[in-house]
Symmetry: C2
Subunit: 346 residues, 2 copies
């Protein structure tokens, strides 16, 4: 299938227009016309090879929403015209215990990313969603509720599921005191979801200017951590903390905020290891957990939840010629709260 895209031709170049061929539509595939694709910080890490050697040309983008334009002969899950979403992976082994459990993100043989990798045939390069169209196996795509702003849905496919999954896993519900560290692309979705699940939500942010937004999104409390000493006033206060901050920090100050049996979930990937004082874990039977995106069943569940609760991401919709600038602003945390590319401008 003929496609056009914004592609990184090398780690240092600006993104440029690329015309290329996607693989043919297989019997279990659907093709989609892309409406919007979110810009995830991980796109930048991969383009700039901050996560290791990458495949160029690279078409980034794994927060993809669009409309089904064709279906393969064996497709039963979608019909032409359906709204459709594609997230961080497009395939997995399907046979390991993780895949069988619908937790394809933890595939023991490695999930297949949406771009910057080879498909499972070992030779087809996967090109992502900064593009006008896409082809994907039906099992790895999801339905999008019709009542939501499509642009605001795009970031749900990565940023949204990344916070939704640990909130569900660790039981966010009424009465659960939940803190969200950082109010960015991930954090602002954490606030919306935790609030919708009925939890008492506190935002911990070093930016005092974000208080109004936090409360507007559903936070019950806002703690400005610019003076880190303020944390001492909140010891043993939270049952669940979502850490969306990938910058270096003293994690022990935050572990001390956990009440008995509390859990701090790390979902950002910091560049350096955490130095964890084990005494902080022993005291109060606390724990640190990791969580990584979500599986296909949970991705669908989240989108249905969003439809029921009218939840989307706060986005700045941009055109293709603004992507380089958007990258710089994303790195500077200067976005409210996620850039989304209008695919019609590509």
């Amino acid at each position: 299938m003929k496609s056009r895209a914004l592609a990184a031709m090398s780690p240092s170049a600006s993104l440029t227009r690329l015309d290329f061929e996607r693989r043919d539509l297989g019997p279990h595939d659907v093709s989609l016309e892309i409406s919007f694709t979110g810009i995830c910080h991980s796109d930048i890490h991969q383009v700039r090879q901050e996560w290791g050697p990458a495949i160029f040309p690279m078409v980034p983008g794994h927060e993809i929403v669009g409309t089904v334009s064709a279906v393969g002969s064996k497709v039963t899950k979608f019909t032409i015209g359906d709204l459709i979403g594609v997230g961080v992976f497009i395939d997995s082994c399907r046979t390991c215990s993780s895949c069988v459990a619908g937790l394809q993100q933890y595939c023991e043989n490695g999930m297949t990313g949406t771009y910057n990798t080879l498909e499972r045939d070992g030779k087809t390069v996967a090109y992502g969603g900064y593009s006008n169209n896409f082809i994907i196996n039906q099992d790895y795509a999801v339905h999008i509720p019709a009542n939501l702003s499509l642009a605001g849905v795009a970031p749900l496919l990565c940023a949204g599921i990344t916070v939704y999954s640990p909130l569900k896993k660790w039981g966010a519900k009424p009465g659960m005191r939940t803190a969200v560290m950082g109010l960015g692309g991930l954090g602002h979705m954490g606030v919306k979801f935790a609030h919708a699940m009925g939890a008492e939500v506190t935002v911990l942010s070093h930016s005092p200017t974000k208080e109004a937004d936090a409360l507007e999104m559903g936070a019950d409390h806002f703690v400005c951590t610019k003076d880190i000493a303020v944390l001492k006033e909140h010891q043993k206060s939270f049952d669940l903390i979502l850490n969306t901050v990938s910058a270096d920090l003293d994690i022990n100050l935050y572990l001390d905020l956990l009440a008995l049996d509390g859990t701090l979930v790390v979902i950002g990937l910091p560049g350096n290891p955490y130095e964890v004082n084990i005494g902080a874990l022993l005291n109060g039977r606390r724990r640190i957990a990791g969580s990584m995106i979500g599986g296909i069943p949970e991705l669908q569940e989240m989108l249905d939840f969003c439809g029921q609760h009218q939840i989307v991401s706060d986005v700045e919709v941009i055109s293709a010629d603004y992507v380089d600038t958007a990258y710089d602003r994303t790195v500077a945390s200067d976005v409210k709260y996620r850039f989304v590319i209008d695919a019609s401008t590509i």
Copy 2:
């Protein structure tokens, strides 16, 4: 009450015989004649002030078993002649949510240790179990099943509950692949309990000579970690790992042994922070948790479990004049698997 004890008069001195007065028996107290008291590594840390300034003279000992010799006017839980056990704490605030939940070890106002502290009146020094007798509020003592070797029961009051509690918390049961790091005072109890709970038990130990003991105690597998590279063969193999090792180690090598949703519970207190690679937590939704002894209801539950399953600690019973040597051998991990003082020799 007149008492005699083995006491540390200063951090550097040998333990010596001390005659002293315990507080009077209150209406809710019981007194006991001590039969055996275990030597816990934490006794040594406290005597040697490795955990901060201590109160001298100090009578260590918080693994105490004996026979009730007198009861206060309001005591209903015990009668004279009952077998009785005392563990790591003798009181707590009784009103915080942890205490109300029976998790007195996490008392938000601080549990009262069995020795090297003041009782909650703020003035009575608490003297521990290297002694011929003891006085304790009935609510903080437990019953001991009659069918167990009393000497082997003593270490259950600290070493036993320290491993029993996290095994219960994290659901050790048939089908759960459980690893125990270190086969010492804590670890050997972890093997016995995990085996009795039906889990598949693997011992990870750097001492190849411990394999026979490990298998005898109920381990299904033994992995000698002297060559640490062997761990690579066991990645993603365990649902639960109990880390009883307080020596410095690369915790990430062990996190990689956890399967999906696996938990590594730290129960030894290492001297230095762990450097945790967060990627190891994200991958497989793993977690590190802490656990600290257990509350009074769980202590009783554990002793009942031991009675049902004929579980006691492996001990070397020693007389009072051997305690200094036993301390040195404990520090050198040269004990199978816990020293217990015969209180009749004090």
